[in-house]
C-alpha cells in the first residue's frame, strides 16, 4: 500500500516513514502541501497523511484542494496534528478526511492506526 506522507519537520518525517515502512507501507515523503498537490498525480497513493501545520500551504488547505479536484477527491486523507482540538477535527472531517492521528503518535502502532482509519471508512 502506498502512502504519501506530507510532513515539514524532517525528524518527524523520518520517524513516521520508518514506522510506516516497518508496518509494510510504501512511503513517499514530501515537506509541503504544494508538493503534495504536485506529486499526488504522478504517485497515485492509496492514502495521504497530511501534517496539519505546514509552511506555504497547510494541511487544511491542501486537503480542501485535493477534495475539490475530482482526480484526487477519492484518495483518503488522514491528518497528523499536534492540536487535538475538537473544532479542528470537526473541520477536517467536514472536508472529507477520514480521521486525525495526534502527535506525538505512537511509532509502534502508527501503521495500525492508519489501517484502522482506512478500514473504518
Amino acid at each position: 500500500m502506498k502512502l504519501l506522507l506530507a510532513e515539514d519537520e524532517p525528524d518527524v518525517q523520518l520517524i513516521a516513514r520508518l514506522s510506516l515502512k516497518k508496518a509494510g507501507f510504501t512511503v513517499v515523503t514530501v515537506a509541503s502541501g504544494v508538493e503534495v498537490l504536485r506529486r499526488v498525480v504522478e504517485e497515485r497513493p492509496d492514502a495521504i497523511l497530511l501534517d496539519w501545520m505546514m509552511p506555504d500551504m497547510d494541511g487544511y488547505e491542501t486537503c480542501r484542494r485535493l477534495k475539490a479536484d475530482p482526480a484526487t477527491a477519492s484518495i483518503p486523507v488522514i491528518f497528523l496534528t499536534a492540536r487535538v482540538q475538537e473544532a479542528e477535527l470537526a473541520r477536517a472531517m467536514a472536508l472529507g478526511a477520514v480521521g486525525c492521528i495526534g502527535k506525538p503518535f505512537d511509532a509502534l502502532t502508527l501503521g495500525k492506526q492508519v489501517l484502522e482509519l482506512l478500514g473504518s471508512r
Partner: protein, 616 residues
C-alpha cells in the same frame, strides 16, 4: 403694714396735726378777739364814765355857780343836766360788769339821788364831796381794769403772732418729715433696687438688696431676688447651653475637617484609580458624577437631551456573546431593583476608537429612606486581560505544538530503537526505556496542561449524548490494560445489571475514569486488584474506581482536586504524575453535570467515584 397703709397713716397724722393746729389758731384768735372786745368795752366804759364824771362835775359846777350867785339853781338847767346824768348812769351799769364798779356806781347813784333831794346847803356840798370821792374810787378801779385788759390783749396778740409764725414752720417740718418718710420707705429701696439692677445689667450678680420688709417694697425685693435667681439660673443654663453648643460645634468642626479630609482622600482615590467610575441619577438617567478614568473612556455626555441621545447612539455596545445592548438601559432595571451587577463583560466600540472590552460592576445607591436614587457604575478596560488571555491561549497552543514536534521524534526514535532490540547491553535497553517513559510523561504533562487551559478558558467543547455505561467501563479498562500489566495489577469490572445509559461526552468521561484508573494503578500494590464498578444512584450512575493501596489521610483529601497537588509524589517513581489529573477529572465531570467524591481508609485503600447523569 403695707406702704399704702403707712402712707395713709402718716398723711392722716399730718392732716390731723394740721387740723389741730388750725383749731389752736382759731382758739387763740378767739381769745385775742375776746380780749380786744373787752378792751374796747373798757375804753367805751371809761368814756361813759368820763361822761358821767363830766355830768356830775357840771351839776356840781352849776350848783356852785348858782350858790355863788346866791340864788337857787334854775330848775330847767338842773333838769337838763339831770337828764344827762340819768342817761349816763342808765348806760353805765351794763358795761360796769365788775362787782366793785357796780357797787360804786350804785353808791354814786344813791348819793346823787340823796344830793338832788337834799335842800341846798352844806349837806348838798358834803353829799357832792362824797359823790366825787366815790367817783374817784370808781375811776381808779376802772382804770386799773383797763390796764389789765390792755395787758391781756397784748398777751393774746403775742400768742397769736407766735402761732401765726409757728404753725407754717411746723407744717413745713411735717411736710419735710413726710417727704423724708416717703423717701425712706419708698425711694431708698427703689434706688437700691435700681442700683442692683444696673449691677446685674453689667453682669455682676453680687448685689446687696434692702431687707425684705412685709410691704410692697418687700414684695418687690422678694420678686427682684427671685428674678435674680431666675436670671442667674437662666444665665447659667444659657452659659452651659452655649458651652455645650460650642463643644458641639468644635466637635462638628473637627468632624467636618475629618470628613473633608476623608472626602479629599476619597476624591483623590476616585480620580486616581484606573477604573472608570460613574454615578447615574435614577430619575433622569444622567451621569451626575464621573471620574477621570471614566472621562477618558467615554468623554463627557452633553447637557442637552437630544445631543445626549445622539452622543450615546454613537457607541456600539454588545455583550460578550455579541448581543447588541443599549448601554444606558443595560443593567438599569436590575440596579433599580436593588441588585448589584458584579463583573459582567461588555464590548464597547467608541466612534473614534478601537473596540474595547470592559468589565462592568454596578450597585444601587440608596437614600436614608431606602429609596434607590441612582447607581454607581464601575468599569474597567480589560483589553489587556483579553490580550493576556489570547497570549496565554496562543502560548499554550504554540508550546504544545512546538513541544510535541520534537517529542514525536524522540518518542518515535526510541520506540523504533527499542523495538529493533539493537542494544548490545541490557542496561542500554533499560536506559532507552527510561528515556521513552519520561518522554511519554512529558507528553502527558503537555496534554494535561492543554486540557486544563482549555477547560479554564471555557473552550472545551463537549459532545454529550447517551452512551451505555458498560461501554464506558469497557473502553476505560481497555485503555489502561497495558499499564496494569506493567504494574502486575489485575483489573476488574463490576457492572450492576440493568444500569441505565449515561448522558456524557464519551471521550471525556473515559478520560476522567482513565485518570482515576491510572492513579489507582500507581498506588496499587503488585498482585492486587483495581476494580471499576458502575451502579445506579438515583438520577445518576456512579463509576467507582477502587484500589487496595495505602489510602489517603482524611486531612489530605481536600487537597486532592486542586491543581498541581501531588500526594506522596516522591515516594515511588511510578507514582509521579502531573498534579493536574484530578483537577481535570473534577472539571470534566462537573462540566457534564456530575460530581467526584473520594472514600478512603488509610491502610485499606481508596475509592474514587464519578457520578454522571442518567440519559433521558
Amino acid at each position: 403694714m403695707t406702704i399704702r397703709n403707712r402712707i395713709f397713716t402718716v398723711v392722716g397724722v399730718v392732716l390731723a396735726a394740721a387740723y389741730l393746729q388750725t383749731l389752736i389758731v382759731l382758739q387763740v384768735e378767739n381769745r385775742r378777739s375776746a380780749a380786744a372786745d373787752a378792751l374796747d368795752r373798757a375804753i367805751w366804759r371809761i368814756a361813759k364814765q368820763a361822761e358821767l364824771g363830766r355830768v356830775i362835775v357840771e351839776l356840781d359846777a352849776l350848783e356852785r355857780g348858782y350858790a355863788a350867785a346866791g340864788r337857787h339853781a334854775d330848775g330847767a338847767d338842773h333838769d337838763r343836766l339831770w337828764g344827762l346824768y340819768e342817761r349816763a348812769t342808765a348806760l353805765l351799769p351794763e358795761s360796769l360788769d365788775a362787782p366793785g364798779s357796780k357797787r360804786e356806781l350804785a353808791a354814786i347813784d344813791a348819793l346823787m339821788r340823796e344830793w338832788r333831794a337834799a335842800p341846798p346847803g352844806p349837806d348838798r356840798a358834803r353829799l357832792m364831796g362824797r359823790v366825787r370821792a366815790e367817783f374817784d374810787r370808781l375811776e381808779t378801779l376802772e382804770r386799773g381794769r383797763l390796764g389789765d385788759d390792755r395787758i391781756k390783749v397784748n398777751s393774746q396778740s403775742l400768742q397769736s403772732t407766735l402761732l401765726t409764725l409757728g404753725i407754717p414752720a411746723v407744717a413745713i417740718v411735717m411736710l419735710l418729715g413726710l417727704v423724708a418718710f416717703v423717701a425712706r420707705i419708698l425711694l431708698d429701696p427703689l434706688k437700691a433696687i435700681a442700683a442692683s439692677a444696673r449691677k446685674i445689667s453689667a453682669g455682676n450678680f453680687d448685689v446687696s438688696l434692702p431687707k425684705e420688709s412685709k410691704d410692697e417694697i418687700g414684695d418687690l425685693v422678694r420678686a427682684f431676688r427671685e428674678m435674680i435667681t431666675a436670671v442667674q439660673r437662666r444665665q447659667r443654663e444659657v452659659t452651659e447651653a452655649f458651652a455645650r453648643e460650642r463643644q458641639q460645634s468644635e466637635i462638628s468642626a473637627a468632624l467636618r475637617v475629618k470628613a473633608e479630609r476623608e472626602h479629599q482622600r476619597l476624591q483623590a482615590t476616585i480620580e486616581t484609580v484606573p477604573v472608570g467610575l460613574l454615578i447615574v441619577d435614577a430619575e433622569t438617567g444622567r451621569i451626575v458624577l464621573q471620574n477621570r478614568a471614566a472621562g477618558l473612556f467615554i468623554g463627557h455626555e452633553p447637557r442637552d437631551d437630544a445631543e445626549r441621545d445622539a452622543y450615546w447612539r454613537a457607541f456600539t455596545v454588545t455583550t460578550r456573546d455579541g448581543t447588541a445592548v443599549d448601554v444606558r438601559t443595560w443593567g438599569a432595571e436590575r440596579v433599580l431593583q436593588g441588585q448589584a451587577i458584579v463583573g459582567e463583560e461588555l464590548v464597547v466600540t467608541h466612534p473614534e476608537r478601537r473596540e474595547m472590552p470592559i468589565l462592568v460592576s454596578a450597585a444601587p445607591l440608596r437614600e436614608d429612606d431606602g429609596r434607590i436614587s441612582g447607581g454607581v457604575v464601575a468599569f474597567q478596560d480589560i483589553t489587556s486581560l483579553y490580550e493576556v488571555d489570547r497570549l496565554k491561549t496562543e502560548f499554550v497552543s504554540i508550546v504544545s505544538h512546538e513541544l510535541r514536534t520534537p517529542l514525536t521524534s524522540i518518542k518515535g526514535a526510541l520506540q523504533l530503537l527499542i523495538d529493533e532490540g539493537i542494544a548490545a547491553d541490557p542496561d542500554h535497553t533499560m536506559l532507552m526505556s527510561v528515556a521513552l517513559s519520561n518522554t511519554e510523561r512529558l507528553v502527558r504533562i503537555i496534554n494535561d496542561i492543554l486540557d486544563i487551559s482549555k477547560i479554564e478558558a471555557g473552550k472545551l467543547e463537549l459532545n454529550v449524548r447517551p452512551h451505555a455505561a458498560a461501554e464506558v467501563v469497557k473502553q476505560s479498562l481497555q485503555n489502561v490494560e497495558p499499564i496494569a500489566q506493567g504494574a502486575l495489577v489485575t483489573l476488574g469490572a463490576d457492572i450492576e445489571p440493568g444500569v441505565p445509559e449515561v448522558q456524557v461526552d464519551l471521550d471525556r468521561v473515559i478520560q476522567a475514569i482513565m485518570n482515576l484508573l491510572s492513579n489507582a494503578l500507581k498506588v496499587a500494590p503488585p498482585h492486587s486488584e483495581v476494580t471499576l464498578a458502575a451502579r445506579r444512584a438515583g438520577d445518576f450512575v456512579a463509576f467507582s474506581v477502587t484500589d487496595r493501596g495505602k489510602g489517603i489521610p482524611q486531612d489530605k483529601i481536600g487537597l486532592l482536586f486542586q491543581k498541581f497537588q501531588q500526594l506522596d509524589g516522591a515516594s515511588t517513581r511510578k507514582a509521579r504524575g502531573t498534579g493536574l489529573g484530578l483537577a481535570i477529572v473534577k472539571a470534566l465531570v462537573e462540566m457534564q453535570g456530575g460530581r467526584v467524591s473520594v472514600d478512603s481508609t488509610v491502610g485499606q485503600g481508596s475509592t474514587f467515584t464519578v457520578t454522571v447523569p442518567v440519559a433521558r
